[in-house]
Amino acid sequence: MTLLKTLAPYDFPSSDAVENYAGRQLLYINWERHRMFSRPFVLALPPETPFGEIIDAYMSDCFSYHPDWAQIDWSKVEWRNGNRPFSPDRNKSLADNGIGHKDLIRLATPGLDGIAGSGY
């Protein structure tokens, strides 16, 4: 229950409600144990965007600077949406993969722990 106390009615909209993004939704992307990037990054994309595009365009664009990116064995990667493990379908859209506004997609690449195993 809220502990907010005010002298007058207090009701303001969320700054980042999905309606503010003109048909798009926010998506956060994190590559686990590779913290050199900024940081998890945020995108605004239409929910129809195919999941494959997230990997091929956005993740690759950002993460390919890291020497581990080329080493990824894509058959072994693990995905989570927030804290929930899931198996995204590359060919399906964000919406059909169950990815909603402000979800956090986390890519884990077992065996790859960043520069000299430092988590960066």
Binding site: K5, S15, D16, Y28, N30, F37, S38, R39, Y58, Y120
Partner: protein
Amino acid sequence: MDMKVSKKLGLKERYTMMTRDLAWDTTFQPMDKVFPQVGYEGIKIHDWDKWEDPFRLTMDAYWKYQAEKERKLYAILDAFNQNNGHLSVTDARYINVLKLFLGSTPPLELMAARGFSMVARQMVGAGPRVACMMQSVDEYRHFQTQIHSISNYNRFYNGLDEFAHQQSRMWYLSDGKSFFDDAITAGPFEFMVAIGFAFEYVLTNILFVPFISGAAYNGDMAAMTVGFSAQSDEARHMTLGLECIKFMLEQDPDNLPIVQRWIDKWTWRGTRKLASVGMMMDYMLPKRIMSFKEAWEIYFEQNGTALFTDLARYGVKVPKCFGQTIEEKEHITHQSWIGFYMKPDACPFHTWIPAPDELDWLSEKYPNTFDKYYRPVLEHFDRQEKAGKRFNNKTQPMNCQVCVSTIKFNEPGDPMEMCFRETVYKGEKFHFCSDHCKEIFENEPEKYVQTFISSHAALQGKCEPEGTDVNAHDYRPGARMHAYWRMDKRATGDFNGSEDQKNFAKWRAQATKN
């Protein structure tokens, strides 16, 4: 004929007449209608006269002392500037400390001035009203003198001229802005705990060490003198914050849980704000004073423990975040510097990889963490830069909904994992950097759903420079952030090869050689 000469007033009487005797209870309107803010937070005050003025100073004495300090300060600033004092700093990298400081601190002093003048109006008792009014004037003076001391550098170096424009817009300045926005939109008692106690009392030394001692160590007499000129004010501010805590706790036992929650909240919010200050100590001062870790141990762990031992008689406990900050002191400055280093296009100051002897200093100061978690990536960046591939991460960061730090701190207990926390409020997801920020949100979600997050606002098309055609076929929200921030290209990028670096070397050579 005897003249009847009345006795000169003693200091104490004089103080009373100049403060307490000027206060009266309203008659046209009831007091609680004139001062509604002192009641709504739930703090119960039974007797305002029990407020002990910790620092008895009348307005006329105050003007006199402050005027004297101003005269000295501006005489020194003049001499420093006339003498090309900017060339006497240790290294041109130092000037980047001033750039970060100028954007992040004077605007917050101004917010503090506004906050204290607001609280001076809202408080019922004459004691706190007078003290808050004088603190407000102090904060205004700090805001002005800080800008004046740095303005001379603006004639010679890039990146100092748009700090006022950038303050409300720039991604990395959002954390400090949100800190004060949160405090100033709270009630008067919470504001006093936030700024008067948690910031001015518990954490202020951590601010003073890098800026003031840092300036002294690095040959910046201008910034150093500003610090000394502010120091006697700070002593007054600290005693005011502490007195306010004691007053609330002595007035009613029901105040304790409220005050404790505010102490927990604001100590944590202040700690998050100080991550970038610590980074200056460890990475940006060419001549280092002490590590952030050492400063944290002295000023927070030791002094803080003594303070909270003293407050234990009121039932106050050490802030909930105490343990986590002790674990984090080994990590946060490195995580912050890497965070800024990766964004050379998005900061109006330069970043760099520390020289080999500076990396050794960090290894020595952080034996448990630096070589294992941070040195390898810094050396990797260095090799990349030398190979012509200087790291430049162009994506937009994710931020904490409460402290607005970029998400970059590690999971407690696991330095390799990023710490994520989330909650759902009215069907919308919100993300946090820590359990503490999550708890702050959940206590007052109505407030924090409004947080300004620069990267989100940009993606909504709210961060466009003037003249942007949002109907153009190739319009992409947030694509013109540099123009929106009014970023001077010369002020961005790596320090190596920067105009500042070249000019400083050239001017210094002119000053010392034929």
